[in-house]
């Protein structure tokens, strides 16, 4: 892990990786969008509104995976004092919040024609909204740091504690009776018919690659900004 602790070495890997992730991901998202909109059959019950799945599920996954990343980065920041950990946490927070918001909005648009409501305070919907608010809190805390590098231990503690919401979101449909349906994809298989399911893994991979590209770009931006801050500080002292 400490091989990547050096920001210079990180940049040497991140710089060429960013376009591959970004453009490769965009291509996969486009393939999934065309397949999901034109090639797959409609659902027997929901009709064409089932196609919202191809954006709703990847954004839910990225919202949850993003916070898992923040929690891991927070642990590295607190325990190993890893110089890139706080940068990674800050870089993940904004796209994480964005995809959580996309998940909530697409879910709401999906809920209106199927359930007959835009919003209900059931376990799954509420815990996902809490995740979105946690992201906003993390972004605010990470920016509120004194030393301008964003390595705020309070934000890291918040990132670790907030991770408890991730299993709550995941198990909400099993623990409580909810309006949201149960899990379709489990370790034992999928209750989505293969003819409807197949674009979903393409969309998942594509959106995840785009997410990765955004995180790498943001990490590079934050590193560059920290460098400028440090140089300005030195110049001011000299």
């Amino acid at each position: 892990m400490h091989i990547f602790a050096n920001p210079a070495r990180f940049l040497a890997i991140a710089r060429p990786l960013t376009p591959w992730l970004g453009w490769g991901g965009a291509l996969l998202v486009a393939v999934a969008a065309v397949s999901g909109l034109f090639l797959t059959p409609p659902d027997y019950l929901q009709g064409d509104s089932v196609r919202i799945m191809y954006i709703h599920v990847p954004s839910a996954w990225l919202g949850m995976a993003g916070w898992t990343g923040i929690a891991a980065a927070s642990l590295f920041q607190l325990v190993w004092r890893h110089p890139l950990a706080a940068v990674a946490g800050q870089a993940i927070a904004v796209p994480g919040a964005l995809f959580s918001a996309i998940c909530l909005v697409t879910g709401s648009i999906w809920g209106r024609p199927t359930w007959g409501t835009w919003w209900q305070w059931d376990g799954r919907l509420t815990s996902m909204l809490v995740l979105f608010f946690l992201y906003l809190g993390y972004i605010a805390l990470a920016r509120a740091s004194d030393d301008r590098t964003g390595a705020n231990p309070i934000a890291a503690i918040f990132g670790l504690v907030g991770a408890i919401n991730i299993p709550i979101i995941h198990y909400s449909v099993l623990w409580w009776r909810t309006l949201h349906q149960g899990q379709s994809i489990t370790l034992s298989g999928s209750t989505i018919d293969a003819s409807i399911l197949w674009p979903l893994p393409i969309a998942l991979l594509g959106f995840t690659m785009v997410f990765g590209a955004i995180v790498l770009m943001r990490m590079r931006t934050i590193l560059a900004r920290n460098k400028i801050e440090a140089r300005l500080k030195r110049m001011a002292e000299a």
Partner: protein
């Protein structure tokens, strides 16, 4: 013990405490955080008439009756063991049909009928194209 290990131990202990506390809170919330009563719960808990609750279950097959005024419908919500008659006046979602999930918001009247002011359709986690659903329906009806 190096300071690094001290921090790791501290972080893991704190994490274990938070997870434990949350699991306790969640198991305590188990009944309160449920989104709706099933007919069995509603009968067991003697939900008093007039209290606003949600009732969820399956719409019993063959139970939907439309009144002559065109907007009032009566149907039965069942959880497989117990069932409750429901009356609703208004427009139901497209997915509201017999043998399908439903959540009704409203209250019981004195006679034990659930008077709903909102009907939500609840679908399950299965998604399939219409042809397959049609074949499944055919094979299921043949079995009967």
């Amino acid at each position: 013990m190096k300071p690094k290990h001290q921090r790791l131990t501290l972080a893991l202990l704190a994490l274990a405490a938070i997870v434990g506390a949350t699991l306790l809170a969640m198991s305590a919330l188990r009944d309160q955080a449920s989104y709706f009563y099933t007919p069995g719960d509603a009968i067991r808990d003697h939900v008093e008439p007039g209290r606003a609750v949600r009732l969820g279950g399956m719409v019993a097959g063959g139970s939907i009756r439309r009144a002559a005024d065109g907007v009032t419908i009566d149907f039965v919500v069942t959880d497989g063991k117990q069932s409750v008659p429901v009356r609703f006046k208004g427009i139901v979602p497209d997915l509201f049909k017999e043998n399908s999930g439903v959540v009704a918001e409203g209250a019981f009247d004195a006679g034990g009928t659930f008077v709903a002011d909102t009907i939500l359709a609840k679908h399950d986690e299965r998604y399939m194209p219409p042809q397959i659903a049609g074949e499944m329906h055919k094979s299921e009806s043949l079995k009967k």
